[in-house]
Symmetry: C2
Subunit: 295 residues, 2 copies
Amino acid sequence: MKEAATQVQADLDRLLPLLDASLTVPFRRGDAVRLGEAVRYSLEAGGKRVRPVLCILACEAVGGTTIEALPGALALEYIHTYSLIHDDLPAMDDDDLRRGRPTNHKVFGEGHAILAGDALLTEAFGVLASADLDPVKRAEALALLAEGAGWRGMAGGQALDLEGETLAAYDLGHLRLIHRLKTGALLRASVEIGAVLGGAAPGERSALRAYGEAIGLAFQIQDDILDATATDAQLGKRAGKDVGRGKITYPSLLGLDGARKALDEATENALCQLASLPNRNSLAAWARYLALRAR
Amino acid sequence: MKEAATQVQADLDRLLPLLDASLTVPFRRGDAVRLGEAVRYSLEAGGKRVRPVLCILACEAVGGTTIEALPGALALEYIHTYSLIHDDLPAMDDDDLRRGRPTNHKVFGEGHAILAGDALLTEAFGVLASADLDPVKRAEALALLAEGAGWRGMAGGQALDLEGETLAAYDLGHLRLIHRLKTGALLRASVEIGAVLGGAAPGERSALRAYGEAIGLAFQIQDDILDATATDAQLGKRAGKDVGRGKITYPSLLGLDGARKALDEATENALCQLASLPNRNSLAAWARYLALRAR
């Protein structure tokens, strides 16, 4: 476990400076200045950059370079950031706090928060579409990004989640579906886009897709566990909000011990998928690390 | 003028059935049903489909086929539809009526309206990224789509427009900038994407880009003129809302006659750009038709 944490920290030390330097919004004359500030406010709020890091690590795991994965990594963080801005809106989860700071609409107003999300979502595709990469890889990565973020991915999951709040009956299968779309689809896309940009062989690509699917599940279970057990200060956002809202979560359906067991199973499944890859150390460490956070 | 109207009608008769049949949302088990309904509600509301039609006509003008342009055409209508849904939200233009029907958020709620826009924006890139087209053309069309819709395109223009409502001084140059981004960028992209998908030579592509720029300007001027002169029933949305809101428009800056003159100039400019193209009849008719509507 300590080994995993050390590897994760080494990956972050290596990749975060590159990502943070790349995730900026340059201003030009005639730009919508306040929109740029709203975009920058959320983009530069930091965080662990899980999706871009996973994208780069997956690319490297199949023999690709950091730089080949970078456009995909930036696109994924743009998408993730847009989703946080829109999810926090009053009409959605109605949150005031994110990463320890006021949410985007609290600072810039709802109109600009909606537009900042729209702009980030659009630029995600823009940064990848205009990247200096092999066109076939580019088009494939773009299709994966749309699949992960769209109607049958993240946006669909968020909608099911909204719709689900009014459902009376709600079982584990439905909860899994929601999370597979809402959180899992983009994490899976992160890993698979990295694989594509790194030139993965078909077997490597499908193993990495399954790895992404498994850590997506693990990520959601540990998020539910953290929501139920951590404090606001530990999370940098409001804790206990799912419980307070009577929302169905893994701990509420399986109990805390049952949720921890499901988390361990998902992590084991993720690790199994990596067996055939040459450079699997970092991805294995990240799978263990996600499980670790929820202890 | 009658000749232009006849040509436009012939184009619509030929292309609308194809577009309407393609702009549907198929449902599968596990889909977010209400999100799908919200997407479908706005997508199937009809309208003249100006952007996809221009995309197809530009493709045909340089010798390409209808089918080659179709993925770009669908993507453009998805983007346009998303922008209408988000622009109508209470935090933006706060409109209750669109194309003669209640706006999306009035029917499905704000949360679903935001998500329906997000999903359409994402699928726009998805439909183009996964199209069976030459990967180089695909990547180029995707980059143009992001440029037209993003921070330095449509979304940026909408933000400037929101920000501008609080500005005291506001001149013609600033109004032009806003409209070039808010409406012009996506119309220009429509024509240029069509050119790219049709395999335009560089000279043809830049002529079509300039044509798109000019009709974008014409389109906005005539929209302002219609807002000032038509009734709600004629528009299918609230008329006079710019005037009522004290918003700066072409008629308010130039007077109605001045605005009509500016419209004629933009139309002439658009027509000039077409001189070197082999199949220019339809694009010429559409430029004349846009000017005609505002009489």
